[in-house]
Amino acid sequence: MSTQIDLVPVKPTTAIVGEAENATAKRRDRSVWLRLLLNDRVAAAAAVVLGLVFLTAVFGPMLVGNLATSIDLDNSNQAPFTLAHGWANVLGTDPLGRSMLARLIVASRTTLSVAVPAVVISAVVGSLIGMWAGYYRGWRETLAMRVADVIMSFPSLLLAVVVLYVFSPSAANIVAVLAITRIPVYLRTARAESAELASRVFVDAARTFGASSTSIITRHVFPVVLPTLLTVATLDFCYVMLAESSLSFLGIGIQPPDISWGLMVSQGRTYLHTAWWLSFFPGLAIVITTVSATVLAAWARIATDPGQRWRLTVPQKRLSRFTKTTKAL
């Protein structure tokens, strides 16, 4: 039984349609994505929040100046939500009298500059190797999986401590450690899906047509694996931010005077009873950022899956008018 949904046109993506569209095509492409995003209001809100966070990370520290580092021992541990100590201290002050708001802004840059590169590096490296291994099977697969095993059974703490003491403790080294320890997740996920796809009929068909393995992987395997990888990547983004805070709890994360949200949560834990805002606001920042990223990833998962995209082609409200129920079955 077909509804009007099935008649909604979807832009074809194969090479069979061979118009020279260039500029107009690009504009139409972008407006299609924007439309897809705006149709899901929650995802749109998440995108806005995430955009704000990124803008803060990039421009914030310049605007804040040295409010984040000016120590004022007389103003130590002031409560938030009052303008009595100046507008900068509206979120309270830390034990050294520095403005929480300013520190949160400066910390966002450090946190994101650790989390984003770590996730990107491990995702790219892990999925490439995983897809390659899963597609070919045989010794390549065994080798890749054993490499993943080696990395996974390595205590990430030991690696972090060593890196911290043998080389100088810096954000770059923490990124390296986190990236390396997260590669196996992408590797295994990509390999699992790739192995499953490699035995499908359409791959056989492509091979019969003379397509090389590389092109099969990029044009057929990758788009199917991408949605899962995106979900895993955003969840991993969250994990990396939390791992960074656990490293700080153990004393081997970002070192003062640099600050990150994780370090702020960790340093604030001794004041939980008297100055709850020290741990709460950076924790809240972590939660908000990761939840937004996850919502956006869920949207991206649907948007990049051609079989699911129809859900986003009309605004949510009107969607329910077209489908009889909202049940999946």
């Binding site: 120590i71 021992l73 007389d74 050294l96 003491y165 081997i252 003062p256 001794t270 939980l272 009873h273």
Partner: protein
């Protein structure tokens, strides 16, 4: 339609039963709970003692359990009066310039029934100081000395030193007595001693239980048993206290939430910056003076230590022999600091060279904040300072000689606890040119220190007080911060007043159940 349960449900059912099996068949969790034995004293420490070996008892994590609870020394220092009180020895006197004779107590037995005699005393001292065991007590109290021991009879021990040592009895009070049957080739994890308690059971990783020693020579302690547990988080220790799961909680911070159950006490620790004066720019006296002018001691104590401390002008607190009550706090003058640094710069001193400020994680509550404040104040004065927080093992490399090669100019944040009650221990370690924890010194000052070490009584006090007064002018290796106060959590059902030694040596016999007869109430 098929009604067989799908495989998924079967798997789920198996999983659920596995969960139940794991949970109930737990070997880790003892199910003995519900109420507690009022005759057991429950204590929570911040870490499990790695060992209870008596010759390591100058290590805080070991000594706090062992000293005067399981094992006892010949003499015991009263930390409030500073007097040396007889314990296993009833008398001692200097019978020759290099010899001290100790008379031992009668009727003392070890917890395994063996009688305590001079042979055990000589053996214990020899084992701790002269042997190859590398005991911590050896290094902390005796340095490189080799002691000569004689036992003329069963009740007398004669200890001889190479040079006359007027405070030998004080040093000997750090050696805990063990029976001659104790191993001399290995350290012993669970020792036998003469103390009021003996080890009943040690569940490694979980719990240590001591029980009253029935053969104890002195009055029986009030509590029949003592149970030690350990948690590394201060707020969890405080929570255990307020939740009535323990009676005593050690090492609490002001923000941990113990509230009224937290008892502040002066714990003998002093924090200071130790400056490595062998490298430029720190080898210039003006720069070191500038550092002293920049540190806002009063502000740090008020805001970071929450008042739990007293700004310091010397390395030892009141109550230790050699304390100088006339010393004034170095004034806090950031302008003067800047001026001194400018002067030095004008003279060509490389004040822009990066100085490392090295601190140890979790050394005391608020250590990271303290280091940040100090770095900011030094930077204000015009110096280029970089913070490096390290764990204990790494930081010790910069605290103990020899320092790593190419360390560059660095300032170490140290915390020194004078357990012995005599300035000699602090000065020898931290101020002599060859002191184990000293960065540099001068030969003149070394001579002054040596001379003071030979004196006794009032002269000794004056000489050491003079050393502390002269150090800022002659050497200026330190910028003192504060005499610290610790917090001991104590529940209402126990009576105990913490004293300056509580952090290193917690006498269980001094803890009694809170008095139950309320004669002042109707």
């Amino acid at each position: 339609m098929s009604h067989l349960p799908p495989p998924m449900f079967r798997v789920l059912a198996m999983a659920l039963s596995a969960v139940c099996a794991t949970a109930t068949g737990c070997t880790v969790a003892n199910s003995g709970h519900g109420g507690y034995d009022p005759d057991t004293l429950r204590i929570v420490l911040s870490q499990e003692p790695p060992t209870l070996e008596p010759c390591e008892s100058s290590l805080t994590s070991t000594g706090i359990v062992t000293r005067s609870n399981i094992t006892e020394p010949l003499a015991e220092r009263d930390s409030t009066t500073g007097e040396l009180l007889p314990l296993l020895a009833t008398r001692w006197e200097q019978t020759s310039p290099t010899e001290w004779t100790f008379t031992l107590r009668d009727g003392v037995t070890f917890s395994n029934g063996a009688p305590f005699s001079s042979k055990d005393a000589a053996f214990s001292i020899d084992r701790a100081v002269n042997s190859d065991l590398n005991c911590n007590v050896d290094g902390y109290v005796f340095g490189d000395e080799v002691l000569k021991l004689r036992t003329p009879d069963a009740r007398t021990v004669v200890v001889g030193t190479a040079e006359p040592d007027p405070i030998l009895p004080l040093r000997i009070s750090f050696v805990e007595m063990v029976p001659v049957t104790t191993s001399t080739t290995e350290k012993v994890r669970e020792p036998i001693g003469t103390g009021p308690y003996a080890i009943e059971k040690w569940d490694y990783g979980q719990k240590l239980t001591l029980a009253r020693n029935p053969t104890y020579w002195g009055p029986a302690p009030a509590f029949a048993k003592a149970e030690y547990k350990w948690r590394s988080e201060g707020s969890v220790r405080a929570a255990m206290l307020t939740n009535d799961e323990v009676d005593i909680a050690v090492g609490l911070g002001p923000e941990d939430g113990a509230g009224a159950l937290g008892v502040p006490f002066q714990n003998n620790e002093t924090t200071a910056l130790r400056i490595t004066g062998t490298e430029a720019p720190l080898n210039d006296m003006r720069v070191r003076q500038a550092i002293n002018y920049s540190v806002n001691r009063t502000g740090i104590v008020k805001a970071l230590f929450r008042g739990l401390g007293e700004p310091a002008a010397q390395l030892i607190p009141d109550g230790v022999v050699g304390y100088n009550p006339d010393l004034q706090l170095w004034p806090h003058d950031p302008d003067k600091a800047r001026q001194l640094v400018d002067e030095a710069r004008a003279d060509g001193v490389p004040v822009d060279r990066q100085i490392r400020l090295i601190g140890r994680n979790s050394q005391f509550p608020g250590v990271t904040e303290t280091v940040e404040v100090i770095q900011s104040e030094l930077a204000d004065a015009g110096l280029n300072v970089k913070i490096e927080m390290m764990d204990t093992a790494a930081q010790l490399q910069y605290q103990l000689q020899p320092f790593p090669a190419n360390a560059g100019p660095f300032i170490a944040l140290i915390q020194h606890g004078n357990q012995a009650g005599d300035a000699a221990f602090s000065v020898d370690q931290y101020m002599r040119t060859d002191g184990a924890q000293s960065a540099f010194g001068t030969t003149d000052f070394d001579k002054q220190i040596e001379a003071a070490g030979k004196l006794t009584g009032e002269e000794r006090q004056k000489a050491y007080a003079q050393i502390f007064a002269d150090e800022p002018h002659k050497v200026l290796q330190f910028a003192y911060i504060a005499h610290m106060r610790g917090i001991l959590g104590k529940s209402a059902r126990v009576d105990y007043t913490p004293n300056p030694a509580t952090g290193d040596e917690m006498l269980l016999a001094a803890m009694t159940p809170a008095s139950s007869d309320r004669t002042d109430q109707s």
